[in-house]
Each structure stands twice: as structure tokens, then as C-alpha cells.
């Protein structure tokens, strides 16, 4: 078991290296000189050379990569071209905001998804199953940025129940868990929860249907176990996979929140990415993507480890 976990962790290292390499390459597939956006159009050749030296663009690519990785390992992701602030600081504030949104969304999505999936799997073939399956198809098919707009239209512009955009009076760095702030979180979180809901519902339905088909359930029923007892056994067997799916979904939401954050002007990583792209702020773009991608790799690792701890059969397979 320990050996398996160790091997799994070692296996994540080359992936992380590859992810860093892709993020590094991003700057170099970008058309044009990365310095263009900071240089005044009439910059002298001298100034150009100076800045090139400062950002390290005058060195060979492997050298640049090594320097970049070395700095990143020390928490230095460079300086944003647009705001002139440290990228690491900006990214971490934004990650905090996105994480809050994504966590709430995952919890809502997971609970609803489990409910729909479980009911559908338990009453397979009935109208409840068909209705729940329809909900999950709708969940995976809806363009979430559009759903966000519709939510704003219904709950902000028509009913005027909830605020449409922003993260509350505290702005981007002062979040407090009270209603004043929470009301800003609700619409984006509910919008976001639709994606994991659909996927969790699909997975749980398949799992439950599969488990109920197995012989031990028939055995338990024959032994005279109540519905509640059977239910407990089903949950126990479905939990590891369902939790794993939830973990992965959290990762997808962290990386995929850009569209929803744009709709709601939520000051998270998506919003940061959006401004980095349109100001052609490549260090900020690179740093944000690196942090999000590494987060996703680590999350995958954690999910695998947790799943192995919950279900030791995986390590033996």
C-alpha cells in the first residue's frame, strides 16, 4: 500500500515538470515580442536591451526555462507587465476567491448530483429515473456562461433578489462569511454547480445500478435486510468513486471558472486570466496557468491517494 502511494507520488513529478514546460512554452508560442506591450513605441535600442536583460529574454531557451523554474520553486513567478506587481501575490489572492466559489459550487453540485443519481439508479427504468437522467443531460449540456446570464436576468434584473456582479463590499481581498457577502456568492456558485451536478448524477446512477445488480445485494435481501440496510451497503460501495469524481470536478471548476467569473465579475483566477489575456500580460498569464494546472495535478494525486485509502483493492490491482 505504502509502496503504491509512493509510486503514485513519484509518477506525479514528471507530469508537473511537463506542465511547467508547457506553461513556459506558452510565452514562446505567443506571436510577437513579449516586450512590445511594455515598451514605449519610441524606445531606444539601449532600453530594449536593458529590459531584455531584466526579463532574461536574451539567454538561451533552456537557460531561461531553468531560471524560470528555479524562481517559481522559490515562489517568484515574475512581475506583472500591466500592474508591475508580483504575479505570485496577485495569483494567490485570486486563487483564494476562486477556491471559495468552486468549493461551494462543488458541495452543492455533489449533494444534488448524488440525490438525483441515487434516486435514478435505485428506481431504474421508472419515470423518476428518466426525469433524473434528463436533469443530468441538461446539466452537462448547458453553456454555463449563458446559464449565468439567465440567472442574472431572473434573480437580479427581474426579481431583484440578489446582486448581479462583484464579490461584495469587501472587494477582492476582504471576504467575510456573512449574508452581506454571501449573497454575492450565491448566483455564481449555483451556476457553477450545474456542471458537477450533471456529471456526479451520471456517475452515481451508473454506480448504484451496477451495485444493485451484484449478487451480494441479492444475498443481503434474501437474508431479510431492510431497504435501509441495502441502502447503507450501496452507499458504502459507491462512495469512493463518487468522492473521486467530486475531487476531480473541483479541479475542473478551478480551471474552468473563467467564463462564469467573467459573467459575474468575480475577482478570481478566471477574471485575472481574462485581464492578462487582453492586456497581453504574459508573465501574469503564465503564472496563473501554472498555479492552476499544478493545483489540478496535486488534486488528482490527493484524490488517488484518498481513493486508495478508502478502497484498498485499488492498490492491489
Amino acid at each position: 500500500m505504502l509502496l503504491y502511494l509512493l509510486r503514485r507520488m513519484l509518477y506525479a513529478l514528471p507530469i508537473m515538470f511537463g506542465v511547467a514546460l508547457v506553461c513556459f512554452a506558452l510565452i514562446h508560442i505567443a506571436p510577437g515580442d513579449p516586450l512590445v506591450s511594455i515598451l514605449p513605441p519610441d524606445a531606444s535600442a539601449d532600453l530594449q536591451a536593458q529590459l531584455r536583460e531584466l526579463y532574461g529574454f536574451n539567454r538561451s531557451l533552456p537557460e531561461q526555462f531553468a531560471m524560470w523554474v528555479w524562481r517559481a520553486l522559490h515562489g517568484d513567478l515574475g512581475v506583472s507587465i500591466a500592474s508591475n506587481r508580483a504575479v505570485a501575490g496577485e495569483v494567490f489572492t485570486a486563487v483564494g476567491n476562486t477556491l471559495r466559489l468552486a468549493l461551494v459550487a462543488t458541495v452543492i453540485g455533489f449533494m444534488l448530483g448524488c440525490l438525483f443519481g441515487f434516486v435514478a439508479g435505485y428506481f431504474r427504468g421508472s419515470w423518476i429515473d428518466r426525469a433524473a437522467s434528463l436533469v443530468s443531460v441538461l446539466g452537462v449540456s448547458v453553456p454555463h456562461y449563458w446559464l449565468g446570464m439567465v440567472m442574472v436576468i431572473v434573480f437580479s434584473s427581474q426579481l431583484m433578489w440578489l446582486p448581479a456582479t462583484g464579490a461584495g463590499p469587501g472587494g477582492s481581498d476582504h471576504w467575510i462569511w456573512n449574508w452581506e457577502h454571501l449573497q454575492y456568492l450565491l448566483l455564481p456558485a449555483i451556476t457553477m454547480s450545474v456542471i458537477p451536478m450533471g456529471i456526479v448524477a451520471r456517475t452515481v446512477r451508473a454506480l448504484v445500478a451496477d451495485i444493485l445488480d451484484q449478487e451480494f445485494i441479492v444475498g443481503l435481501r434474501a437474508k431479510g435486510l431492510t431497504h435501509l440496510g441495502v441502502f447503507r451497503h450501496t452507499v458504502k460501495n459507491a462512495a469512493p468513486t463518487a468522492l473521486a469524481v467530486m475531487g476531480l470536478q473541483l479541479g475542473y471548476l478551478l480551471g474552468g471558472s473563467i467564463l462564469i467569473e467573467t459573467v459575474f465579475s468575480w475577482p478570481g483566477t478566471g477574471f485575472l486570466l481574462n485581464s492578462a489575456i487582453f492586456q497581453r500580460d504574459l508573465p501574469l498569464l503564465q503564472g496563473t496557468i501554472l498555479v492552476l494546472a499544478l493545483f489540478f495535478v496535486v488534486l488528482n494525486l490527493l484524490v488517488d491517494v484518498l481513493q486508495t485509502l478508502l478502497d484498498p483493492r485499488i492498490a492491489r490491482a
Binding site: G18, A30, L138, S141, W146, L147, A293
Partner: protein
């Protein structure tokens, strides 16, 4: 006389009916699935919009008018209202099918070809080649797909071609993984072993024995990606990274109408509803295809 013949034909053993071919039975199952047929119908209508949109549309989708800006749904002459430049929404939604479907489906097609190729090579070659290819694929797989798509098209710059390239890169690893796993399964079958023993070269074995057996599952998987691709491609346009104005495309229309949600909310929401309908139809179609091609049931 005739009665004799009849009685003899009846008593004679009925010749075994020729069993239907695999594809005939797939078709039969598919056409008996009402949900899948409904989805197929919607997709056909959308394809008709994409091909003949300009002749179907009641008005010119580019004709703007400052006086008719943001008309509500049901205005005479504008059945679905008018957009922020006074252009007819219905016409723009119909003509918009062409670009929206194009930018949504093309990446999946390209990734289907390239991903299958990569997966076939990795799966058939095995060993070191497989390890190298699949580790590289794993790296790209380690990015959440929305993030990778936006990162790539954000750095490459706005534009249709760049968004097609980035979405293709997003889907290649996913398809290659499926292709690799089915190829590895088929490669170890006895008939492949037999072909190799009888002296067929790798190319012939892949073409004759492997390809026919792996294309089906890969194709079904690829169709399940079309809905995701449609949502992502229009999402890129929504962010301003894809199609440029004044071309009608649903994601872009949603973007330019976003500022109008306090004036004409339901007109502003229409383009997204088109994306939603398209994505649902492709998802249901893909589900129907999957169960029709499933031999076990």
C-alpha cells in the same frame, strides 16, 4: 395440386434466416430509439440552417438600423426581436448556425483524425514508443480542458483559426487515450496474432484487422465531445477570443448582447438557448449512438 405444394412447403424445415449484419442491427436499434431520433432531427435542422441559412433567413443578418435597436420578441417584422445594432435576431440565429457548428465540430474532427493516429501508433507499437507518447499525452491531460483552451487561444491571439487550433489540441489527448486503450485490447486478440504469424506486415494488420475494430468506439467517444466542443468554442467567442464581429455566431452574439440584459433580457438570452439546444441534441444523439452500437444489450 397447389394444396399439395403448400402443405409440403409448410412441413419442410424452415431455412435459417440470415442473421442481420452488425450495422443493420445498429441502425435498427437507433431508429427505434425515439429520443435519439428526435435529437437527430434537431441536428438535421441545425445542419440545414448551417448550409442554407442565408436562403432560409427572412432578413439580412448584417443589415443594421439605429432606429430598430433592441426591439422585444414579437415586434412586427422582427419575430425574435432585434439586437443592439437593430439587426434581425431570427435571421442572425439561423445564419449563426454555420459558424457556430463549424467552430464546434471542426476541432473534434481534426482531433478525431490526429488523436486516432497517435493512439493507434502508441497502442500498436507498445513498449517504449507507447510510454513516451502516453506520458506526453498525460501532461496535456493534466490541464483542465477549459483552462488549456483559454491559455492556448489567449496566447496565440484572438481569431477563428487560433481557437480551432487550441480546441484541437485540447481534444487530441482525450481521443488518443481512448484510441490507445482500444488498440491495445485489439492488438492482443488471437486474429491479430494469426495475421502476424502468417506474415502480414504492421501496416496491413492495422489497416485490415485493427482499424475496423477500433474506429467504432473512438467515433462514439468523439461524438460525445461535440457538445463540449460547441460550448467551449462559443465560450471562446463569448470571451472575445474566437469569431470577430460582425459575423453572426452564437457565442459572440451573447457577448455583444450582454450589456443589454437590463433592456431586453430575453432577446439577449436567445443565442445561448441555441447553444444549449445544440449541445443537448448532440449529447442525446451520442448517447443513442452509444447504446445502439453496444453489442451486449
Amino acid at each position: 395440386m397447389s394444396s399439395v405444394i403448400t402443405s409440403s412447403t409448410v412441413s419442410a424445415p424452415v431455412p435459417m434466416q440470415r442473421s442481420r449484419g452488425y450495422w443493420a442491427s445498429v441502425w435498427q436499434r437507433f431508429t427505434h430509439d425515439p429520443v435519439a431520433m428526435g435529437a437527430a432531427l434537431v441536428v438535421l435542422v441545425l445542419i440545414a440552417f448551417a448550409l442554407f441559412g442565408h436562403s432560409i433567413a427572412p432578413a439580412d443578418p448584417y443589415q443594421s438600423s439605429m432606429l430598430k435597436r433592441l426591439k422585444p420578441i414579437g415586434t412586427p417584422g422582427f419575430p425574435l426581436g432585434a439586437d443592439e445594432l437593430g439587426r434581425d435576431m431570427l435571421s442572425r440565429l439561423i445564419v449563426g448556425a454555420r459558424l457556430s457548428l463549424f467552430i464546434g465540430i471542426t476541432p473534434v474532427l481534426c482531433a478525431f483524425v490526429l488523436g486516432t493516429l497517435i493512439g493507434l501508433v502508441a497502442g500498436y507499437a507498445g513498449g517504449l514508443v507507447n510510454t513516451v507518447i502516453m506520458r506526453v499525452i498525460d501532461v496535456f491531460y493534466a490541464f483542465p480542458s477549459v483552462l488549456l483552451a483559454i491559455a492556448l487561444s489567449g496566447t496565440l491571439g484572438a481569431g477563428v483559426v487560433n481557437s480551432l487550433i487550441s480546441l484541437t489540441i485540447v481534444f487530441i489527448p482525450q481521443i488518443a487515450r481512448v484510441a490507445e486503450s482500444v488498440t491495445t485490447q485489439v492488438r492482443n486478440r488471437d486474429y491479430v496474432e494469426a495475421a502476424r504469424a502468417s506474415g502480414a506486415n504492421a501496416f496491413t494488420i492495422v489497416r485490415v484487422h485493427v482499424l475496423g475494430n477500433v474506429l467504432g468506439p473512438i467515433f462514439v467517444y468523439a461524438t460525445s465531445l461535440i457538445a463540449v466542443s460547441m460550448i467551449l468554442a462559443s465560450g471562446l467567442s463569448f470571451l472575445g477570443l474566437g469569431v470577430k464581429p460582425p459575423e453572426p455566431e452564437w457565442g459572440l452574439m451573447l457577448n455583444t448582447l450582454r450589456t443589454a440584459i437590463y433592456v431586453q433580457p430575453w432577446v439577449a438570452a436567445l443565442p445561448g438557448a441555441m447553444i444549449f439546444i445544440t449541445a443537448i441534441s448532440f449529447n442525446l444523439l451520442s448517447d443513442g449512438l452509444r447504446s445502439a452500437m453496444d453489442n451486449k444489450s
